[in-house]
Amino acid sequence: MNEQEFSELYSSLTQEMRRGILVLAALSQLNDKKYGYALISSLAERGLEIDQGTLYPLLRRLESQGLLESTWDVEGPRPRRYYVLSPDGVRMLEALRADWDGLIGVMQHLLDEHPAQEN
């Protein structure tokens, strides 16, 4: 595998890995209502960059699945759509959080068996 192939594959695998955690990341920030751009900023401030083209469709999907509720707020400088966890969303966040805590332990254990090698 040459360097370019390696970096393309790496980019695709890391995207896949990050895609898996986006739902949990978004839900974790929506106990209080937020509009899309504020959510992106909030995640970015905490070190998780997510592009807008991914976030908005994700929010809509979570809403259609009943995990989020949304309302249009027309009082600010421009109309904005705010998202917040629904009661089911709150339950789901807790369930996923428990999974996540378990996964972190397992993954840490797995990776510790073969510590990173220095090049």
């Binding site: 751009y37 807008q52 083209g53 259609s64």
Partner: protein
């Protein structure tokens, strides 16, 4: 802001009508929010261009909102599509081969084998096209098969080894018979016909020598495949496909020969088989060429029906192999 309006208008073209206004309003507010977060004061064209490039081309942005995906036939329906396509194509081809065989067997009218072959080939894309349309409609209305919900028992897995193994005895007989015929055709092409009696000599079949090349080619293909199968020991999907192709070619050659015999007999003013039976009661010796040609024609007809049935069986087994391969990936060596 003109660029943002143009951008939103373009995105809107690809969005479903019922969600369009809502999605565009949110997209607009998010674009303006982002610009304000990045640029102090009025945003210039360069800023907007950079932002829109980050969002991506309108078609891609619109596609990301599509809940059922932009599929003609999506991943949920595709396995079902493959299964049904295999069955339907096998049925359509099998029915045509059989109909062709029956038409040649009973019909006195001229049948053009090339046209029949072209019809056979044409029917594949046509059948597939119809199926794709049906499945695209199912996909459009988001119909999902519930095949996966059925309880599954590993013990119900099909046994594949017995079916896929070749019958070596059958192959050896096939190779020997085909080689003998090929040898006779190659070395004694003038002696294909019927001996009347030891003194009077011989009536040479006038049709078979005209198609010697085709007959030899078909026999060589058949012998070659049989030898390969003997060495390989089991059937695979490609070898079944080759076997079907070889059979179809043999059918074509037989059809050409039958047509030649029909034409020769028609020239002699002879119709179907029953009219020849009457000749048997009359002057057998004078009518021997006609009886001989009728016998050849009958033999060819039997070969045609046998090979047709064998081809349909092969197509059926091919479809079965494909279906099994789909349900048990990695079981069969390619």
């Amino acid at each position: 802001m003109d660029l943002i309006d143009r951008y939103l208008h373009e995105v809107g073209r690809y969005l479903p009508r019922n969600k369009r206004a809502d999605i565009l309003a949110e997209l607009r507010s998010s674009l303006v929010d982002t610009l304000e977060g990045r640029v102090q004061g009025e945003a210039g064209e360069e800023d907007i261009v950079a932002l829109l490039k980050e969002y991506g081309p309108p078609r891609k942005v619109a596609a990301s909102y599509s809940s059922i995906g932009q599929y003609l036939i999506g991943p949920e329906l595709y396995p079902l599509f493959r299964m049904i396509a295999g069955i339907v194509i096998a049925a359509v081809l099998g029915a045509q081969v059989l109909a062709f065989a029956v038409a040649v067997w009973i019909g006195e009218q001229q049948i053009n084998p090339w046209e029949s072959l072209a019809g056979l080939v044409n029917s594949i894309p046509m059948t597939l096209g119809m199926l794709v349309i049906v499945f695209a409609i199912l996909q459009r209305f988001d119909v999902r098969p519930e095949l996966d919900n059925e309880p599954w028992d590993p013990r119900s897995l099909p046994v594949y080894t017995e079916v896929e193994k070749v019958d070596r005895g059958e192959l050896v007989v096939g190779i020997v018979a085909a080689t003998v015929i090929l040898g006779l055709l190659t070395f004694f092409p003038d002696y294909i016909g019927t001996f009347f009696n030891l003194e009077d000599g011989f009536f040479a079949n006038p049709v078979i020598p005209r198609y010697l090349g085709w007959i030899s080619l078909s026999l060589i293909a058949s012998i070659g495949l049989d030898i390969y199968m003997l060495w390989r020991g089991h059937w695979t999907i490609p070898t079944r496909l080759v076997q079907i192709a070889v059979n179809l070619f043999s059918l074509l050659v037989i059809a050409l020969l039958l047509q030649g015999h029909n034409a020769w007999l028609a020239e002699q003013g002879v119709g179907g088989f029953l009219s020849t039976l009457e000749l048997l009661g009359e002057d057998i010796m004078n009518n021997l060429p006609i009886i001989s040609m009728q016998a050849f024609r009958m033999g060819l007809g039997i070969a045609l029906v046998v090979i047709s049935i064998e081809t349909v069986v092969q197509i059926f087994r091919l479809v079965r192999s494909i279906l099994r391969r789909n349900t048990t990936p990695g079981m069969l060596p390619a």
